[in-house]
């Protein structure tokens, strides 16, 4: 199950966040900071899945933008990984050149 969906840029600014489980606003900021920190510390050789607390992060990077999905452990990592790309394609179709606009 997806817990949250985040778009964060390299500077750590959240561009979009959607939570599918209740998380207090004050805790969201903290969570988002930690999430982006752990994504930024990864290299290209590392896999796109991070075990984070009691759930998993699945992330992809598009230029300076990270899209990160938090899921619980019954979720299919590959499906989410590709879902992120699908989402980006949809945005791109709708807004055209989405990555540059964000």
């Amino acid at each position: 199950m997806i817990k949250f969906f985040l778009m964060v840029n390299k500077q750590g600014q959240t561009r979009l966040s959607k939570y599918y489980e209740h998380v207090e606003i004050s805790k969201r900021t903290l969570l988002e900071t930690e999430v982006i920190k752990s994504c930024l510390s990864r290299s290209n050789e590392q896999c796109s899945f991070i075990e984070f607390k009691d759930f998993k992060l699945i992330y992809r990077q598009y230029a300076a933008l990270f899209i990160v999905v938090g899921v619980n452990d019954t979720e299919n990592e590959m499906a989410i990984y590709e879902f992120i790309h699908n989402f980006v394609e949809v945005l791109d179709e709708y807004f055209s050149r989405v990555v540059n606009n964000v």
Binding site: S43, E45, Q46, C47, S48, F49, I50, E51, D54, N72, D73, T74, N76, E77, M78, A79, Y81, E82, F83, H85, N86, Y94, F95
Partner: protein
């Protein structure tokens, strides 16, 4: 915002936003916002009625201001007005504002709910969708209460549009997740399942998500979804890559829907219907076949989507764990991925393979990849992938490859990331113990562990090696030799000193023959480490020294010198000082015989579950995705790994408590009161020093000393009084309870007085009373013959862990019981904490020269410590709800063994100890009770409910307590009474 501003230009809004963006400073921004707020306020308050467009524009501005982080305290009413507009864009902005800014403002909620209700009933699909999205986005309990009943209707209505059904399914899912109790199950559930057949793929996708969530709570209601899901899946899997048009993603038909369907099927066991099962197996095979076909596209998106389906298929195959052929194929497929150039695939392959390793069908197949996995452990650049590889090695380990895997993990440990070292240490320790063929290898491995990663070797690990060495005399000599060698390293880890100190203190004599490890050499080696060690280790070493005095009398003078040194005798640390004083005195005043008894080698530890395993389970926590966490997998992995375990885990209680060595579990010999002078002498030794309290949770280090400590405050002299009391039954020579013991015990669950046992020779009567956590029991032993019983000795024994749970003090009785006479024995009982097994009563005597022995279960069950609690119905239900975790409840449905009489039942329940509560259960036939179990350590609140069914001659008994084992145990006890 190109899409919005193009067609529907709210120019004012666009201007305002660009003004804000152009502000040079925070102050300028605030000024601009305040100006705008004033403007909007005046518009809203003005006499002129605003048209829909203006309202929408101003509400939009307010929303934008709110999103910038400013408080908005007006405009809600205007937003609510927009909800009833007939224009989509106005309604949409109204809903947007409500979804973002709604709070439980009571009057507004009523208006909002009204508007939503109208839209839901409007039959305009767009409006219905807006309303459904708003309900889902807010998702509050109030919304749920207002609409949870309507949405299922919309979902299954024949005339709902596809987009509405899709939204309704997702909205219902959201409400169900937020407050499951609000969503009523009903006849609509069957119709929801049929949405899996819907023409519209969006509806199917939404429905699968909803059903997957609902069926977890009510699997039977949704069982029919299996065949529908299988046929849907089969249609997708076998469709050509262009059949599904919009739902084809880079030539893969409906990848996400396929994954969801496969996931739904994992909520159920394999289909029972052979045709359905055949079709499903065919699907799974098709997916596996496709993985081998050349890709239809070179794009990575194509292969990613395909692999997502493949991994979910493999999960389902593992979940079924019944098709050997598929399991092996899955394993081979994952084997290919292990060497794939994509890190993601290697990671996922390792993770999946970990679960495959625990299936008996694929364990061997997984093992063939051992070299690849070891290589991954060495060469992977990503720590999380290495971690997966280590998990997999652990999962695939069995007797055949244990040595290789353990040595590879040890090697890896030297370079492993700090974060995972402790876990690797635990795993190595478990594997080494589980698959040890010869124990010298085991000892070597653990000592290596300490050498390589001493800081990460937790207490459990080194306790365990001591336990095993103590229990296996074939390895003791080797262990002594090895630790002796290990200690010779100039710098060795403190844990090594602890293990070395303990082992040499116990078994140093086994290597004392070799002049290179003669007693003085051993001692000076240990003592050279002494000053660098922590207090705990030094305390342990002092005990080693006193043991040395016994083992090697020639070291006595040296050691006494060390003990006598000011740095020991006047050590600032109380524990060290006490030990030095006591040991010094002990070694000076006690004769060699007494010393030999006091400092005898430790007895074997009782066998129990390896506490390392418990620790690893705790550490990983539930759901961490390794083969270890899952009880089921773990159990099966034990099976297939062919575990002839060196230490059979005969676990008496599942408590992962700290008493690793369970010393207190071994009953102390119940010795007669001492009369000898030697005994008194030593009592003085003990009473001189600071009070030596017997502690409850012994560390092995304490256990090491336990022979010095009085086992119970009552009989401090017991140990010395009579070194080999022939008449005293040790734990090993007590026979098993007689076959009727359980039945006899059951008779006393609900009563305190009566005849416990009777045969031709002897009658045992019981009279007992309990208050809070204390009890007193009178046992009456009647000699039914005309001949005197001799050596009559009744004793109470605590099997297993009971010693820490229940204290029973017995008074001795006369050793002779004349013919026809009766003797009385008084037992004082204290319940320390909750317990499950009753103590045993062993009665031995000689009748006409023939020894008689009899073991019974003492009628002390946990319910004796019940304190009834009266409470009102409301309180009862509140507490009942508080104890609603599944493990807090125990329930039993059983046939009545006795006539179902309400009065008898009442009496039994009262006898059981709980209060009976009237007027609580709506059904007057039912019984409801409440009470608190009083123990010294804790109180356990208990609620019970007994529902007789006179027609079926059955009862249903439900117990809820705050402790899981207590619920189960009480339920078992009480169920046998009816």
């Amino acid at each position: 915002m190109p899409a919005v501003s193009k067609g529907d230009g709210m120019r004012g809004l666009a201007v305002f936003i660009s003004d804000i963006r152009n502000c040079k400073s925070k102050e300028a921004e605030i000024k601009r916002i305040n100006k705008e707020l004033a403007n909007i306020r005046s518009k809203f308050k003005g006499d002129k009625a605003l048209d829909g467009y203006s309202k929408k524009k101003y509400v939009c501005k307010l929303l934008f201001i709110f999103l910038l982080g400013h408080d908005i305290d007006f405009g809600h009413m205007e937003a609510v007005n927009l909800l009833s507009s007939n224009k989509y864009t106005e309604k949409q902005i109204g809903y947007l504002f409500i979804s973002v800014l709604v709070n439980s403002n009571s009057e507004l909620i009523r208006l909002i709910n009204n508007a939503i209700k109208n839209d839901l009933a409007s039959r305009n699909p767009t409006f219905m969708c807006l309303a459904l999205h708003c309900i889902a986005n807010v998702g509050s309990r109030e919304m749920g209460e207002a609409f949870a009943a309507d949405i299922p209707r919309i979902l299954v209505a024949g005339d709902s549009m596809d987009s509405v059904k899709q939204s309704a399914a997702l909205c219902l899912l959201r409400l169900y997740k937020a407050s499951p109790d609000l969503v009523p199950m009903g006849e609509w559930t069957a119709r929801v399942v049929h949405l899996l057949n819907d023409q519209h793929m969006g509806v199917v996708t939404a429905a699968v998500s909803l059903i997957t969530c609902l069926c977890k709570k009510n699997p039977d209601d949704f069982k029919t979804c299996i065949s529908l899901a299988v046929s849907r899946l089969s249609r997708i899997v076998s469709s050509a890559s262009t059949d599904l048009q919009d739902y084809t993603y880079y030539f893969v038909p409906a990848p996400w829907l396929s994954v969801k369907l496969l996931r739904l099927l994992q909520c159920y066991p394999p289909p029972e219907d052979a045709a359905v099962k055949g079709r499903l197996v065919e699907c799974l095979e098709t997916v596996l076949n496709k993985a081998q076909e050349p890709p239809k596209s070179k794009k990575v998106q194509h292969s990613n989507a395909k692999n997502a389906i493949l991994f979910e298929t493999i999960s389902l195959i593992i979940h079924y764990d019944s098709e050997p052929n598929l399991l092996v194929r899955a394993c081979n497929q994952l084997g290919q991925f292990l060497q794939h150039r994509e890190t993601n695939l290697r990671y996922l392959a390792l993770e999946s393979m970990c679960t495959l390793a625990s299936s008996e069908f694929s364990h061997e197949a997984v093992k063939t990849h051992i070299d690849t996995v070891i290589n991954a452990l060495k060469t992977e650049r990503d720590v999380s992938v290495r971690q997966r590889a280590a998990d997999l090695l652990y999962a695939m380990c069995d007797r055949s490859n244990a040595k290789q895997i353990v040595s590879e993990m040890l090697r890896y440990l030297e370079t492993a990331d700090y974060a995972i070292r402790e876990e690797i240490v635990l795993k190595v320790a478990i594997l080494a113990e589980k698959y040890a063929v010869d124990y010298s290898w085991y000892v070597d491995t653990i000592l290596n562990l300490i050498r390589i990663a001493g800081d990460y070797v937790s207490e459990e690990v080194w306790y365990r090696v001591l336990q095993i060495v103590t229990n296996r005399d074939d390895v003791q000599g080797y262990a002594a030799k090895t630790v002796f060698e290990a200690l010779q390293a100039p710098a060795c880890h403190e844990n090594m000193v602890k293990v070395g100190g303990y082992i040499l203190g116990e078994f140093g004599n086994l290597i004392a023959g070799d002049p290179r490890s003669s007693p003085p050499v051993q001692f000076s080696l240990l003592h050279s480490k002494f000053h660098l060690c922590s207090v705990a280790t030094r305390a342990l070493l002092l005990s080693t020294y006193i043991k040395f005095i016994n083992l090697f009398p020639e070291t006595k003078a040296t050691i006494q010198g060390v003990l006598r040194a000011g740095s020991q005798l006047r050590n600032a640390d109380v524990e060290l000082q006490q030990r030095a004083v006591e040991y010094l005195t002990l070694s000076s005043v006690a004769s060699t015989d007494v010393l030999a008894t006091v400092l005898e080698e430790m007895p074997p530890f009782p066998e129990r579950e390896s506490s390392i395993l418990a620790k690893l389970k705790r550490k990983k926590g539930p759901g961490a995705g390794s083969a270890l966490d899952d009880g089921r997998r773990d159990a099966s992995s034990n099976d297939i790994n062919g575990g002839v375990e060196p230490t059979p885990s005969t676990v008496s209680t599942p408590s992962p408590s700290a008493d690793l060595l369970g010393l207190r579990a071994a009953p102390p010999p119940a010795a007669p009161p001492a009369t000898s002078g030697a005994g008194n002498l030593l009592v003085d030794v003990f009473s001189d020093g600071p009070a030596a309290q017997p502690s409850l949770g012994p560390t092995p280090e304490e256990a090491f000393l336990s022979e010095l400590e009085p086992p119970a405050p009552e009989s401090p002299m017991a140990l010395l009084a009579d070194p080999a009391p022939a008449a005293d039954p040790g734990p090993e020579d007590i026979g098993p309870p007689i076959p009727e013991a359980d039945e006899l015990l059951n008779k006393f669950v609900c009563k305190n007085n009566g005849v416990l046992f009777e045969n031709q020779l002897l009658q045992i009567g019981v009279k007992s009373e309990f208050r809070q956590n204390l009890g007193r029991m009178y046992l009456f032993y009647g000699n039914k013959t005309s001949v005197q019983f001799q050596n009559f000795s009744p004793t109470v024994v605590h099997p297993g862990d009971l010693q820490t749970q229940l204290a029973v003090q017995t008074k001795r009785v006369a050793a002779q019981v004349d013919g026809g006479a009766q003797v009385q024995q008084v037992l004082n009982i204290e319940c320390l904490r909750d317990f499950l097994t009753p103590p045993l009563l062993s009665v031995r005597f000689r009748y006409g020269g023939a020894p008689q022995a009899l073991t019974l279960k003492l009628p002390v069950t946990i319910n004796k410590f019940f304190q009834p609690t009266e409470m009102a119905a409301q309180d009862f239900f509140q507490r009942w709800k508080q104890l609603s975790l599944p493990q807090q409840e125990a329930q039993k449905i059983f046939k009545a063994n006795h006539p179902m009489d309400a009065e008898v039942t009442k009496a039994k329940l009262l006898g059981f100890g709980s209060a009976l509560l009237d007027n609580v259960d709506p059904n007057p036939e039912n019984f409801v009770g409440a009470g608190i179990i009083q123990t010294k350590a804790l109180q356990v609140g208990c609620l019970l409910r007994l529902e007789p069914n006179a027609q079926a001659q059955m009862y249903r008994l439900t117990l809820r307590t705050s402790k899981e084992p207590v619920s189960r145990h009480l339920c078992e006890l009480l169920a046998q009474q009816f």
